[in-house]
Amino acid sequence: MTGGALGPTSLAEDAAPGAGSSSGTRPKTSRSDRLFRRLSVGSASLVWILLVAIALFLLQQALPAIHADSVNFLTTKQWLPDNQPPVFGIAALLYGTLFTATLSLVIAVPVAVSGAVWLTQYAPRSLGRMLGYVVDLLAAVPSVVFGLWGLIYLVPRMVPVSAWLSTYFGWIPIFRSDGIYGKSIFTASVLLAIMILPLIGAVSREVFLTVPQDHREAALALGSTKWEMIRLTVLSYGRSGVISACVLGFGRALGETIAVALVLSANYEISWHILTPGGNTIAANIANTFGEAGPVGRGALIASGLVLFIITLVVNFGARAIIARRKDFQVSAS
């Protein structure tokens, strides 16, 4: 049961410090309670202050560059901020960031969640736990290693896969290509999917494991098959947890820097064809060009980072709205 109608806050107000206190006045919360609460509120505020500091810093560094930009920052595709005059815009970067992250989520979520379902519902308990740790080992691989592995191992192997997709599914527009494969949005999305898999899987597993046993037994007792039981209890109970996991994974995919920088061919174009080389993301662009950027270039990169920041805001607000709406409709049985 999630914290239902009886939230912890309301309990705190009702709890009496000592047994047997029956006077009509409201009991004072103790000093230690107040201290602890203040500590907790203070920590929460520190987080918020940190975020504001980061946002202000981004703005302060980005604004001069945006002023110096001679074209529209949001609709231009080129990236030449250290030219005279500076010409740069994030159209291609923004598109690439959102597209690769979404595509990686589309690939990773079914795999991660179904794997989590098998591990928690079908596998014997100890085997499930063991294999779960094994899948979590993917999280142990640092992103720079993923990038190097992606570059040396994955890219050459994605060439025949891309060729196959293009041959048999080329009638679908996104799979159309002109015969050169390799460092494409598709490859980068597959790599990103592999990287966010353990995150989504681990959180999903933890959530599925806490579905109350009596819910599951009740469904089975009513005559449902195992899959129906899972659908009725486990998946619906864990839906908000899985969505949180997905948002976490999406956030990670949006901001992944080094691995994508190594694996993308990095041009500044917008293309629906995911199998052709090209594509660029905001974070990869920062990794690629920061070292050689002049002052306007650095400001421009930070401005693009600011946009990425805002995207994350929007995504999270959207996810929260979805979860909140679902909670309104959920009948909290206890």
């Binding site: 990236w79 030449l80 250290d82 030219n83 570059l151 040396i152 050459p156 015969g179 050169i180 390799g182 460092k183 920088a261 190594l262 993308l264 061919s265 990095a266 041009n267 080389p277 660029n280 990794a287 690629n288 060009t289 920061f290 070292g291 050689e292 950027a293 002049g294 002052p295 270039g297 650095r298």
Partner: protein, 356 residues
């Protein structure tokens, strides 16, 4: 900001085969000093810095030189913010950066560019069955801008009479990150093939076509693993990875093989354009010499001509004095670089001696 702990006898730091000199002594061209130097910038000179650091630290055990590659832009930014003692850069200080750099050195002082590490840009290729290739500047320009797409194109066949070229698609690789190599390569193309290369020169690849790769290591990876691949890279990468490289054409259509002698010849005709000790180089792209290899790059050390602190000055002069000496330049060729020609080397050496 150096902590004595860095210099303490930690067994993990005992890597040199034998430490030949105690701190304070001089060994041949090396004037020892102790302390720590932090520097950063161009990755193109990382190998050179590493070799020099080892030689200097082995001779002078009290010295620690810490060079972090991270890109010329980052290096210059760190130099301007006084986070490093000197910067390695693929480009001299720009007109916008010069005033800030001068300010960092103190009022009335200037920052100067000293060419220190030069290298050749190799045009590496992977064409099965072809072991030697010649490419005119115009041909290279068309290949890298996507106008020539097959290896048996008439233009390439004209450059290579008698060589049988396969009917294989060309896959060109360029740098996706900002790079001095790109800057110098596109500068060469713009100067020596002006009609076919209309994209200007920039540290960010300015032309259409081809695949981008982050870092020269990725360009090498691409060329090696793609039959029909071609890419531009620093010579050390080509030799280390056994990639064949082509003879390139100069402004007058002469095809020049990539040898150390040809590279040095080209550099010896470069002119210096700075003043007051600054030695910014202008490459002689229009020279009509079949023995001058035109696709060159040079990286600079950006230092304060005057205004260096008393703690860093001895080690700065000692280390840069070593790197600009004939001994120091002499170890460059084993690392795939090109030593400065004698005329330039004496100028740089003299400039270092005049640092204060």
């Amino acid at each position: 900001m150096a902590v004595p702990l860095v210099l303490s006898a930690c067994s993990a730091d005992n890597n040199a085969a034998n430490s030949a000199g105690a701190s304070g002594s001089s060994t041949g061209a090396i004037t020892c000093a102790s302390g720590t130097l932090n520097a950063s910038g161009s990755t193109a000179q990382a190998n050179a810095m590493s070799a020099w650091t080892k030689a200097y630290q082995t001779a002078c055990t009290g010295a620690s030189i810490n060079y972090a590659g991270g890109g010329s832009g980052a290096g210059v930014a760190q130099f301007i913010s006084n986070s490093v003692d000197f910067a390695g850069s693929d480009f001299p200080l720009s007109a916008a950066q010069a005033p800030d750099a001068n300010k960092r050195c103190g009022s009335g002082n200037t920052a100067i560019n000293l060419p220190m590490v030069s290298g050749a840009i190799a045009v590496g290729y992977n064409v099965p069955g072809v072991t030697s290739l010649k490419l005119a500047a115009a041909t290279i320009a068309k290949i890298f801008s996507g106008k020539i797409t097959m290896w048996n194109d008439p233009a390439i066949m004209t450059d290579n009479a008698g060589v049988s070229l396969p009917s294989l698609g060309i896959q060109s690789f360029h740098r996706s990150d900002g790079s001095g190599t790109t800057y110098n390569f596109t500068n060469y193309l713009q100067n020596d093939a002006p009609t076919d290369w209309t994209y200007g020169h920039n540290k960010v690849w300015p032309a259409p076509g081809g695949q981008g790769a982050k870092g020269t290591a990725s360009v090498v990876q691409g060329v090696k693993s793609t039959p029909g691949g071609i890419g531009y890279m620093e010579l050390s990468y080509a030799t280390q990875n056994n990639i064949a490289y082509a003879q390139v054409g100069n402004a007058h259509g002469q095809l020049v093989p990539l040898t150390q002698a040809n590279a040095v010849t080209f550099l010896s005709k470069a002119t210096t354009s700075g003043s007051g000790g600054d030695l910014t180089l202008t490459f002689p792209y229009q020279v009509a010499d079949p023995n001058a290899y035109p696709a060159m790059l040079v990286t600079y050390e950006i230092v304060c001509k005057s205004g260096n602190t008393a703690t860093t000055l001895p080690l700065l002069k000692g280390f840069l004095g070593y790197t600009s000496s004939t001994t120091g330049q002499g170890i460059l060729s084993t690392n795939g670089y090109v030593p400065l020609p004698a005329n330039l080397q004496t100028q740089v050496s003299g400039a270092v001696a005049g640092l204060s």
